[in-house]
């Protein structure tokens, strides 16, 4: 017996369909296209059910984000356990639709504080997890050049992965090939300062 709102069961099929539709709309047309009416229409469900299951649109956005985040999180953990390598970390940073998705959410977070908080918390959890992993991986590879800490490597890889994803979405590709080749070279290297073998 709580508030009458927000009752839709978590395992409802309808609920999942609404989340799917919202996610797809967001990916294809941006967050501004995610309206209760359009979500309902895409899911072939009456728009009012959006409010029945999620209350406000902000809550819908949060649920979409959480579902994705948990999924990405679990996926990264599995991949890391199977292959605890630099390449696994790089893959998690440059993986498919995730980057566009993140971008859309960051833009959304600009004026919705509840979403910003959730995003920030997730980003920090993810970063910490990646840092732990990369620290032990790099330790096994020998000493790093002066000033280049595991943190630096991680932030740099994340930045490179992101700008390439972003520019690709824009249709710009200048410098991507050579940069990706350099990343590959770094991933393969047994040592990090060029003094290989």
């Amino acid at each position: 017996m709580e508030s009458s709102r927000r009752t839709g069961a978590k395992d409802s099929q309808t609920r999942s369909h609404l989340l799917d539709a919202a996610e797809q709309l967001m990916l294809e047309e941006g967050y501004a296209a995610v309206t209760s009416r359009r979500v309902g229409h895409k899911a072939e469900i009456s728009p009012q059910l959006v409010h029945y299951y999620f209350g406000t649109m902000d809550d819908l956005f949060l649920e979409v984000f959480r579902r994705r985040a948990e999924e990405g999180f679990a996926q990264f953990e599995r991949a890391l356990e199977a292959q605890p390598t630099l390449r696994t970390i790089w893959s998690s940073l440059s993986a498919g639709p995730g980057s566009v998705f993140n971008l859309e959410f960051v833009a959304l977070a600009n004026h919705r504080k509840a979403i910003r908080a959730e995003l920030a918390s997730y980003a920090e959890r993810f970063r910490t997890m990646q840092l732990d992993a990369i620290t032990s991986i790099l330790a096994a590879r020998g000493p790093l050049p002066d000033g280049m800490t595991p943190e630096v490597v991680l932030v740099t890889m994340a930045g490179v992965a992101q700008i390439i994803a972003l520019e690709r979405a824009l249709g710009v590709s200048g410098g991507h090939d050579t940069t990706l080749a350099f990343v590959e070279q770094f991933l393969d290297e047994p040592g990090t300062d060029g003094s290989s073998a």
Copy 2:
């Protein structure tokens, strides 16, 4: 004698005020907050004038972008002429509100093709200009490590600058200090492979 729309004189004060208001709204609350009503209200001008001066909202967005782009472009050219250094390029990549601005526009471009085209064209022009500059600057610094071309350095710097700006907007700061310190070290180095002095 052309189409009756889009008549507002380019040098109109009213027009400038509308652009200012739109830009500010976009920076503060994201692109979704840039509506004809809100822009008009912020500029203390009737919302209908937005359509008189710009036709559609898309045209308004384009004008806002162009004004910023030209400004940033000219500024970069001046800075580079005064100080043709790596640091000047880094500054142009990490300069204040520009990054947030870009981010907002990229998100917007996701579902407005006219804006995507403009953004892509600008990004390419800017990248080419930066590449010319960084190539000659790095040439003077001596040979680069294996695989690290000027392009790679540029894309990497751009990525680092961007992810830091993005995370900062989100309130996340893990790893920024050490990464920025590393960038500083790289900017100051007379050589690039650690064999300084």
